[in-house]
């Protein structure tokens, strides 16, 4: 029966010609845990800036455009009805803006009182006086009551599809950055790393910290500009990857810890780190100070902010670099050799431990970069990495576990699918579709798109 290559991280002890005593290993692991705890203790007491209200609201602007002249309509009454007998009422201000705070997510019925509109101003479509719409968790739901005669055609399904494809590509590239690292770590050590999402979060959270200047243990230094902050955060992620391998995973490999045991250890680490981030960062969603909002740029019918274009460019360049490194450089070739057959790789003179360490550092850095870019796209919160972890798994499985190129292809497919499927399914259920695809893929082609047809069960 074929066993997958590199199936057990317990294979490693023979390869590295070691007779490490259990005591030393025990000490190393205990040291790691002690570091985790003391990190927790040292950082106590460092708040992370003001929390933002995480409520929901419905808002809109009442105005009419004539050429380039915008006429706003104040003191128009809008009402909302919702679950639990909720009723809210708002009157538009001088900019035509109205806002109704709602107590919780749900389906709301919003209606405009047409009698309070100025004389001669009517709804574009009189039947749309009352709208029924869902408000998601934490959402500020925009509602538009178009006024005056219709001047523009409705956006076609095709242009929507184009827009969603672009957004899906951006999301897919972000997933790819994280997935390549996860896939390489799985390929070389056999570890299914459930704490990979926390490396993603680390990238975003530490960039936010450094760029706001509210750093643990240090006085508030006002913050760095975004790019140097991101660079420092990447260094931190690389260090975290190194610490992960040297202090935790390598000692465990030497002890011959089984794959499932290692997986459960990574789950424990993931829970610990996630709630540690929550403790430091609080539960709110924040954006980087330099990129609160950016005006969209229309390019070939696609409306994205400049930061989206260059973050996609960064991802493409970095992923290209990773592929080049894997194909052309000595370390890259060694990595593929170790993923293919660790024993043979060691026999031909490859330092397996060094390769795995490089993979951990590179994988953590890539995950951190994914986190920074994801933070640009959707804001930073303490469980952003954990929220996309299952999508990363889906991407890696789709492409074929343990193959780096497969992870790339799988990520793009997952990103596009998640985004474009919102044409037909509600936005809040988009991840359900992607996870469903994961299960279907395992049914029909368990080795993934690019995986070799070997037994995985």
């Amino acid at each position: 029966m074929l066993r997958p290559t590199g199936a057990s991280i317990g294979d490693q002890p023979e390869l590295v010609s070691t007779t490490t005593g259990g005591v030393l290993v025990r000490k190393r692991v205990a040291l790691f845990l002690a570091v985790l705890v003391s990190a927790g203790v040292c950082l106590f007491g460092v708040g992370a800036g003001p929390a933002q209200a995480a409520g929901e609201s419905i808002f809109g602007f009442l105005f009419q455009l004539k050429g380039n002249v915008r006429t706003s309509y104040p003191s128009v009454v809008v009402t909302a009805k919702g679950p639990g007998g909720f009723t809210g009422k708002a009157v538009s201000d001088k900019n035509g803006r109205w806002t109704i705070e709602v107590p919780r997510p749900g389906t709301f019925t919003v209606s405009i009182d047409t009698k309070t509109l100025p004389k001669g101003v009517t709804l574009t479509d009189p039947s749309k006086q009352t709208l029924k719409l869902p408000v998601l968790e934490g959402q500020d739901k925009p509602v538009l009551f178009p006024l005056g005669k219709s001047t523009r055609t409705i956006e076609s399904k095709w242009s929507q599809a184009l827009q969603l494809t672009a957004e899906g590509l951006r999301f897919g590239l972000i997933i790819a950055l994280a997935a390549v690292g996860l896939s390489l770590i799985f390929g070389t050590t056999g570890l299914t790393n459930f704490a990979h999402g926390e490396l993603v979060t680390l990238g975003a959270v530490s960039t936010w910290w450094i760029s706001t200047g509210v750093l643990p243990l240090l006085p508030d230094f006002g913050g760095l500009q975004f790019f140097p902050a991101a660079a420092l955060a990447l260094l931190l992620c690389a260090a975290m990857g190194w610490v992960n391998d040297v202090v935790l995973w390598r000692p465990l490999r030497r002890r011959g810890t089984g794959l499932i045991a290692a997986m459960i250890v990574s789950i424990g680490l993931s829970i610990f780190l996630r709630y540690f981030y929550l403790y430091l960062f609080t539960g709110s969603n924040r954006s980087y100070p330099d990129y609160q909002s950016q005006r969209g740029l229309n390019f070939l019918g696609v409306d994205l902010a400049p930061k989206d274009y260059w973050s996609m460019a960064v991802a493409v360049v970095v992923l290209g670099g990773v592929i080049y490194a894997l194909v052309r450089t000595r370390t890259g070739k060694a990595t593929r050799a170790v993923a293919d057959n660790p024993a043979l790789a060691a026999a031909s003179g490859i330092d397996v431990d060094r390769v795995i360490r490089v993979v951990w550092v590179a994988g953590a850095t890539l995950a951190g970069l994914a986190g920074i870019l994801l933070g640009l796209a959707q804001g930073v919160n303490f469980q952003m990495g954990f929220q996309i972890l299952l999508l990363i798994f889906a991407a890696v499985t789709l492409g074929g576990l343990g193959t780096a190129y497969g992870a790339l292809v799988g990520s793009i497919v997952v990103g596009l699918f998640v985004s474009v499927s919102t044409l037909w399914i509600p936005v809040e259920l988009k991840n359900v579709g992607a996870l469903g695809i994961l299960i279907v893929i395992l049914l029909v082609r368990p080795q993934g798109i690019l995986g070799r047809a070997q037994r995985v069960g």
Binding site: S8, P83, L259, I264, G268, Y279, N431
Partner: protein
């Protein structure tokens, strides 16, 4: 600091609702992971199906309580079949990813605004437990020994809960002493050897998945009835991993271990919660370091550390045998 109160809270936690729920969830996991070596990371999905099966039947459709229980149980069996058919032929880590994905699918669907009419969105469902409490044999009042004790509603759910725990342990004990149970353990040790003896491994694994899932789903019923209300986010992945911590703490592949594990686990959590909260209130710990709302986060960090430490230094837990734990992927 009021040490009597802290100790009584800890004592109450050791037999309280959470201990019962996690004991049942872990007994189910024990059948999956401890005896068969199946890495089910979607146990919270089974709890969710049972709890929502009951709540939706009663609260949304106004049908009787007993029908809700039946629908919840049928739901758990169906979920096991749905999960098992594609994944039981796959290696352990694939099974883990698929089961965790499906439990998240269930959670995302029941909390969605789209299906709010049926499942109640992020508010969940209430008003479905009246049928259960109308059967309560305890007269109204508090049942206390000194300061330790519960009111009549809690007494009733705990009586039913611990009876279910006892019954589940008995079922697992009898099953695992039977030839059927020995085949399960053999599958955990060496699947290929069992297959070469002419056993249908796939079918045995499926039966194990169904039985463990149904035992875990009892935890979902007990939770829903005990709280008389459910919210979707209770059934997140953390619930599954808490149940794993409970199982590993007690010792996998031991009949009573999940029960002892659950009791110890909730005593530890209750102690840390209460001691920290009281120390903060009394001013021993500055509230700039940790405040009362952050105690909950500290508890999760503690669980994460506990899971790591147990798995690294003592994967067999308190009662287990290291040779009997499925630690390698097959």
């Amino acid at each position: 600091m009021d040490w009597t109160r802290i100790l009584i809270n800890a004592l109450e936690a050791s037999v309280g609702l959470q201990a019962v729920v996690f004991a049942l969830a872990a007994i189910g996991l024990n059948v999956h992971f401890g005896y068969t070596g199946l890495l089910n990371f979607g146990q919270s999905g089974f709890l969710a199906v049972a709890a929502y099966g009951l709540a939706v039947t009663v609260a949304t459709f106004g049908l009787p309580f007993w029908l809700g229980i039946v629908i919840g149980l049928v739901g758990a069996v169906l979920l096991a079949l749905l999960l098992g058919i594609p994944t039981l032929r796959l290696r352990a880590d694939y099974l883990a990813i698929v089961t965790i994905a499906s439990s998240e699918i269930i959670r995302l669907v029941v909390r969605s605004v789209t299906f709010e009419g049926t499942f109640g969105g992020s508010d969940g469902r209430q008003n479905f437990a009246a049928g259960f409490y109308s059967l309560n044999p305890y007269p109204k009042g508090n049942y206390n020994i000194g300061e330790f004790g519960f009111p009549e509603r809690v007494m009733w759910i705990l009586t039913v809960g611990w009876a279910l725990v006892g019954l589940s342990c008995l079922i697992v004990l009898l099953l695992m002493r039977s030839p059927w149970g020995r085949v399960l353990k053999a599958i955990r040790e060496d699947e290929d050897a069992v297959r070469s003896l002419g056993k249908n491994v796939y079918s045995y694994k499926m039966q194990s998945l169904i039985i463990g899932g149904v035992l875990g789903s009892l935890g979902g019923f007990v939770y829903a009835l005990g709280q008389a209300s459910i919210q979707p986010d209770i059934f997140g992945t953390d619930t599954t991993f808490f149940a794993y911590t409970v199982l590993i703490l007690g010792g996998a592949a031991r009949v009573g271990a999940p029960v002892v594990g659950a009791m110890i686990f909730w005593v530890i959590l209750s102690l840390t919660d209460n001691v920290l909260n009281q120390a903060i209130d009394a001013g021993y710990i500055s509230s700039s370091i940790i405040n009362n709302t952050q105690v909950g986060q500290f508890r999760f960090m503690l669980v994460g550390l506990l899971l790591m430490i147990l798995m690294i230094f003592r994967p067999q837990g308190i009662f287990g045998d290291r040779r009997e734990i499925a630690l390698d992927a097959r």
